[in-house]
Each structure stands twice: as C-alpha cells, then as structure tokens.
Amino acid sequence: MTAAKTARDVQDLHLVNLTKSYFENVAVDNLSLTIEAGKFFALLGPSGCGKTTTLRMVAGLEEPTSGNIKLGPRDITNLRPYERQINTVFQSYALFPHMDIYENVAFGLRRRKDTTDLDQRVHDMLKLVELDELARRKPSQLSGGQQQRIALARAIINSPDVLLLDEPLGALDLKLRRQMQIELKRIQLETGITFVHVTHDQEEAMTMADTIAVMNAGRIEQMGAPAEIYERPRTAFVANFLGQSNLFEGEIQGPAENDCLAVKVADQTYRIPKTATAQTSGRVVFGVRPEKMTTEDVDKRRGEYDNFIEGVVLDASFTGVSVQYLVETPWGQELTIFERNVDVRELGRRGEKVDVLWRSKNVFVLDPGSDINDGLQYLGEPVVE
C-alpha cells in the first residue's frame, strides 16, 4: 500500500477562484488555495460556511459557478465524479445497505475493473481498519464507529490522489471520536494519501492536521500550521473561533522600550511587539490568549510583566487542572483568563480587585480594521452538528 503510493507521484490539489452560488446566496466565495500532496489538510469553519459545498465541488458532485479545480497541472473542473481519482468519506457514511462489508469495500475496484488480487486487497484493507472479521456482515449490523471505518476503507482501497472527509467523526460520541482521530492520522501517515478533512471542531483540526484553513462565510480567513494560526491569528474571526482570545482595540502612541510599540486602550497604555505588525501608527487591534494571562493580588508582581490591568473578578470557576476567571476591566470589557493550577491558592472572589498580567511577547496583532466581535457568536457552540 505505502509502496504503491510512493511509486505514483501524488499531485497537489489547487482550487482557483472557486465560487458557488445558489441563486443570490454565495456558498463559496472566490476561494483559492493549494493543498499539498500527501498532507493532512483540515478545512475548519462554523456550520454553513461552505465547507461541504467546497468538498462536493472537488468530488465533482456539485458544479462550480466559476473557477477551476486542478490536480497537479491537470484541470479536473469538468470531469464527472467517476472520472476523478478522488474519493469521499461521507458524513452519513452512505454504505450500500444491500451489499455486505466485503462488497462495499470492493465496489470501487470492481467498477474500475481493477480486480487483480481483489480478495487479498479487500482483506488487507479490512485489516488496516481492524474489521476483517466482519467482512460478510451487512452495514446495518455494524455500530456507528465500525461503519465509519468501513466508509474509510471503501474509499482508500482505491488509492485516490485525494481523500475527502466531510465531518467523518461528527456522528460519533466523544470517546470514539478521539480514538478515531488517532486512527485516521495513523492511516493517513501509512497510506500517504492527501486527506482533506472538513470539521467544525477546532480541537479535532488542531490535533490532526498538518495545515488548517479556517473558513468563514465562503472564504478562507487564514491558513497555516495549527500552532502558527493559533499563536498568530490574523483576523478576529480566527482569534475567536480557533480557541478563545481577549482582544483590545487601541491607538498606537509610538515606540516603546524593548522593541515595542506603546498602544493606548481607554486611558491606559500597553505594549505590543514591533515585529507583530507593520503598522506604526493609527488604530490597532491586538489580542492575548486566555492561558497567557495570569491574575495576581493588586500591585504584587507587576514588575515581572510588562502589561497589567487592574480589574474586578466577575466569576471564577475551578475545573481541576485550571481556574477560569472572568475579569472586568475599568472600561467595562470582560476578559477570560485560564490559570494553570500550579500552586494551591485561594480562588479569587467575586467583586475582588485583581491584577491581570501578561508579557508583550505573547501579544498577537490582527489585520487593521478587524472587528473584535467577529466570530464570537460561535463560542460555546455544540461540537456535534
């Protein structure tokens, strides 16, 4: 399997100015991106942002309104689904109910008349997903997790150039989902097939993908390695949708010590690293992740950090490994702080005054003109659609 894959040179998948509209509703809006061959690529975004539509266009199940899809140098935009070396793992699994597991898995090879060693290959594939003993069962006799693995086997036995997975774990319970995430990652590494994995679960995207593209309202907001887009989000949507963020809006005052810029928020001054932005003046939006902030008794350790806010505790919840604080700033903004539970300490009480502290090197700066509330509506959205 692995050998077969490396022998054929796999190709990058290019989406070029891809647009799909349903009447006046634009589902995918002039989307361009390149998905590197052999990588685990995650398309992450809230429900209705156009992920499924994008995948369906790549699979050939939906015709783009405009734009192109290329596999390497070859334009595949107008090929029929069965003419593309691309397979899909459907969210509903879509296993053929009238065929047993074996025939489901053999379906693609039989249609392509690629039946040398068919029996061997089907059994190898069933072994890869650890369900060989169920070959003669019907799909309805399998559990959700097993069906999901058969759907996967049925697709990858064809060694496609690209495997599309549309929220493949969406219907599984949390425990099984975590288990399947590891399994999927293993199979991707073993087969070397390019995986395009659609999900609205940011944790899933971050644990599995080599590259994440965050999608919003039919466009790509930001694309990059998980750590990169987490630590350096460029838009408020990414900052709020991928994890949580405390975002501030201020006016650049000018240079400050240690390669920083001084920024005035309300009537206080904060420092942001010069390297984080090309801006040297005007309005700026910057942010700090909740786990990079800490709380302390007023005026106790201000010297160790180059930024502080004296705020009022609104809420403190103890989760064991961490404490989540909600603190109100003097200008009425609510900050979220995740504090690691390193030392046994008394919880901050409601209404108590505290210092919120952070270091400027942990600050990220958003693109100019960002709206700090963008993407907040998805906070606490249920994980399963």
Binding site: G60, R80, P81, F107, R111
Partner: protein
C-alpha cells in the same frame, strides 16, 4: 458524573402495568367479523360447492353435497390450456407494465421536482373512470380503423394486420388497467432510496449505467416485487379485458369461470376452477417471493 441520584432512576424503570386493557382486543372485532363474513365463510362454501355432484340428470335439478374429487381432475383436464394461456397473458402484461412503469416511476421519483405530486395524480387519474368504461375506450383506441392500428400497419408491425381481437389487445388492456398498481409501489421504493447512496456510487467510479444496475435497481427490488405481484395477481383472474378486447380464442380462465357460474350454471366445476386458480396463484407468488428474497436478484 453521578449527578442523578440512583433512586430516581428506579422510579422510571418500573413499568406502569396495572390491569391489562381489553381495548386492543375489542378493536379487533370489526375486522375479524368482516373477514369471517366475507372471506372465511365464502371460502368454505366455495370448497363445499366444488365437491358437489348433480342431484339429477338436468342442471335444473341442482346439486347435492358430495366428495367428488373428480370435479378437479375433469376441470384441469379440460381447461389446462386456458390456465396456461392466462398465465402467459398475465405474465406478459405484468412484464409490459414493469417495462413501462419503471422508467416512469424512476423519473417521477428522482427527476420529478415540484411536478412530482401532479404526475402521481395523473398516474392514478384513470381510476376516476370505471374499469369497464376504460376498457371500452380501449376497444375504440385499438379498433381496426383507429389511428394507432393504421400507423402500426403502415410500419408493417402487425402480423395479423389488426390489434383488436388478438392476444396483443388483451395483454395491452391488462397492462394499461393495472399500470398504477405497478407504478405506485415502484415510485414508493425508488423515492425512498437515499440520494447520497447514488452520489457515493458515482464517487466510487460507477457511471450512471452501473449506478443504476448496482445501486438503484437492487434497492428498488421491494417495489419491483410488490408492483409485479399487485399487477400479476388480479391480471391472472381478469375476464373483462379478454371478453372486450380479445377474440373467442383469447378467453382467459376468468372468462371460463364466469361463464360456468353465470351461463352454464355448473357450480361445482366453476368452484373447482376457482380453487385451482387460487392455488396456482398462491404457488407462483410463494416461489416468486422466495426467489426475489435471495441475493441473486441483486
């Protein structure tokens, strides 16, 4: 995680079952009474009649109870060619209805869009006219000087130069009259197929042709089985089409039974023929369902 006290669960696992209600059994009574009066009693009366023998030398003397098994032998001996012909006509008509009905049901179910309901109404629209009137209409449609007959004759497609009073007319009439019974179950089973399965098939390298043969058709088999049965069973006993559209040579077993009952008044023979027909249909249906239930049809 133990947020719900275990005691509260126990309350819900205890079913509320105090005093079995008689209501379900009472509700069955009308149905059972109906079946008894209109099926069980006639069934046994038919059975008894089929074994009677003549009371005297004339039909007018009536019949007396007996155990004349020979009624069956004689009926079979005399009429087995008619049984064979009925079987052939009914099977041909069923096949014709399937060939015409499947594409129709397929298109209504998968391509119908917002016209779907209208098309379904059109499918059952013929039922608004009586069976007899519809069949008389076919007499006109298939008449020797009709447009259809002339056109087919012009193309030299009719071996006997006519349609009316040939087996073709009988088969066409039966197909037409029972077509809705074919289309509706087919429609129901095709409409139920998950369109995502058809997409999955295309995704897995099957073109439209193979998708139809490997996915759509096998998944619509329940509709094919019930549609063919709903057409075949009444077709087998039909006598209207044969008597209005066929010649004397095209009579089906239904015509024979009808004339034995109503004209000849040989009640034992007519009853024996009815029983043979019923048994024949039951056997055919049994073997057909057995076969359709296996994988070979898939």
């Amino acid at each position: 995680m133990q947020l719900i006290p275990t005691s509260s669960k126990a309350i819900f696992t205890q079913p509320l079952r105090n005093g079995r209600s008689l209501t379900p059994y009472l509700l069955l009574i009308p149905g059972l009474a109906w079946l008894g009066v209109f099926f069980v009693i006639p069934f046994f009366s038919l059975l008894v009649t089929s074994l009677m023998k003549p009371a005297g030398s004339s039909v007018l003397d009536g019949y007396v109870n007996a155990l004349e098994i020979s009624n069956y032998m004689l009926a079979l001996q005399t009429y087995w060619p008619v049984f064979a012909k009925s079987l052939l006509y009914a099977a041909s008509a069923t096949l014709l209805a399937l060939v015409i009905g499947y594409p129709l049901a397929y298109h209504i179910a998968l391509r119908g869009g917002r016209w779907r309901n209208l098309m379904l109404v059109l499918v059952i629209a013929p039922f608004f006219a009586s069976y007899l009137i519809r069949t008389y209409a076919w007499k006109t449609i298939l008449a020797d000087e009709s447009f259809i007959t002339s056109a087919l004759n012009f193309l030299n497609l009719l071996p006997q130069d006519r349609i009316l009073n040939t087996p073709l007319a009988v088969i066409a009439g039966i197909s037409y009259n029972f077509l809705p019974f074919m289309i509706l179950p087919l429609y129901a089973s095709i409409e139920r197929i998950d369109p995502r399965l058809l997409e999955a098939s295309k995704d897995l390298y099957a073109d439209s042709n193979e998708t139809f043969r490997k996915v759509t058709l096998p998944l619509s088999m329940p509709g094919v089985v019930s549609g063919t049965l709903l057409t075949f069973i009444p077709a087998m006993g039909d006598f209207i089409n044969a008597s209005l559209l066929g010649s004397a040579k095209d009579k089906m077993i239904g015509n024979v039974i009808q004339s034995q009952f109503v004209i000849v008044r040989d009640y034992p023979r007519a009853s024996a023929l009815s029983f043979i027909l019923m048994t024949l249909i039951l056997l055919i249906v049994f073997f057909y369902i057995r076969r359709a239930g296996t994988e070979d049809l898939v």
